[in-house]
């Protein structure tokens, strides 16, 4: 799993690549929760490089979304593809969250 964050004008973009499973999810959770704690604008989670996610990762995403909601700030999932997108669909997350095909289109939604 690789994590990175960058400031993109109107938003903070956190990108997560590789594999988020039960073993790596805690690190992802810590990272994302730091970002939401200090967030003062929209948070975009970019997942175009994500190969695998299990429910431990979905937990982390939902927790971050809840925090952003409390702060009345936008939370967007970007770049969902293939197998990973299917997991989000089954979990009902595609209708729960704002979703954008790419990081760029997410930035345009702000």
């Amino acid at each position: 799993m690789e994590l990175a964050a960058k400031d993109q004008g109107g938003a903070v973009v956190v990108s997560v690549k590789g594999k988020v499973d039960t073993a790596t999810a805690p690190e992802f959770g810590k990272y994302l929760s730091e970002q939401t704690d200090k967030a003062a604008k929209t948070l975009i989670v970019s997942m175009s490089g994500l190969d695998y996610i299990s429910s431990a990762g979905l937990r982390v995403i939902l927790a971050a979304a809840k925090k952003m909601k409390e702060k009345q700030l936008d939370f967007i999932l970007a770049g969902l593809e293939g197998d990973v997108k299917n997991v989000f669909r089954i979990a009902g997350f595609l209708s729960l969250f704002k979703v954008a095909d790419t990081e760029e289109s997410a930035l345009k939604q702000i």
Binding site: D21, T22, S55, R59, L62, K66, K69, D83
Partner: protein, 138 residues
């Protein structure tokens, strides 16, 4: 016609062994010839079931083992058998998760069993010799 045993792994029910269990399941699925997407779904279902055993099966007692067997049955169908000696638990009877509330009310968690069941049609459960035995047929 008899099936073929591909792998059999028994280790303590601890997260540190997840990688070993998953590697054996993935290799077996690859050997059987499933497509990449199907292998990823099988991996995910196995992870969810295993992690639940790590987390819940031995909650009130010393941590026991999990056994994962992969192979093909008499009809050359791929199977994974996951068994533990923890508290009786039939995931086929677990309550469905909350899939409708909005973000603030949506419960965190409860998705593992649901994902496994959505991804794998044919899972059977039986309890025998104080063991939970899940047989997954793909």
């Amino acid at each position: 016609m008899t099936g073929e045993l591909f792998s059999q792994i028994q280790l303590p029910a601890k997260l540190e062994y997840l990688g070993i269990f998953i590697a054996s399941v993935k290799d077996a699925a690859e050997k059987y010839g499933f497509a990449r997407t199907r292998i990823s779904e099988i991996e995910l279902a196995a992870e969810e079931i295993l992690v639940n055993i790590f987390n819940y099966a031995y909650q009130n007692a010393e941590t026991g083992c999990v056994q994962v067997i992969t192979g093909t049955d008499g009809n050359r169908r791929f199977f994974i058998e996951i068994s533990d000696t923890g508290i009786p638990f039939n995931m086929l009877q677990a309550d469905p998760p909350d899939l409708t509330s909005d973000i603030s009310l949506r419960k965190i968690g409860g998705l593992g069993v649901f994902l496994a069941r959505e991804l794998i049609n044919d899972i059977s459960y039986y309890r025998e010799d104080n063991k939970n035995i899940l047989k997954i047929r793909v």
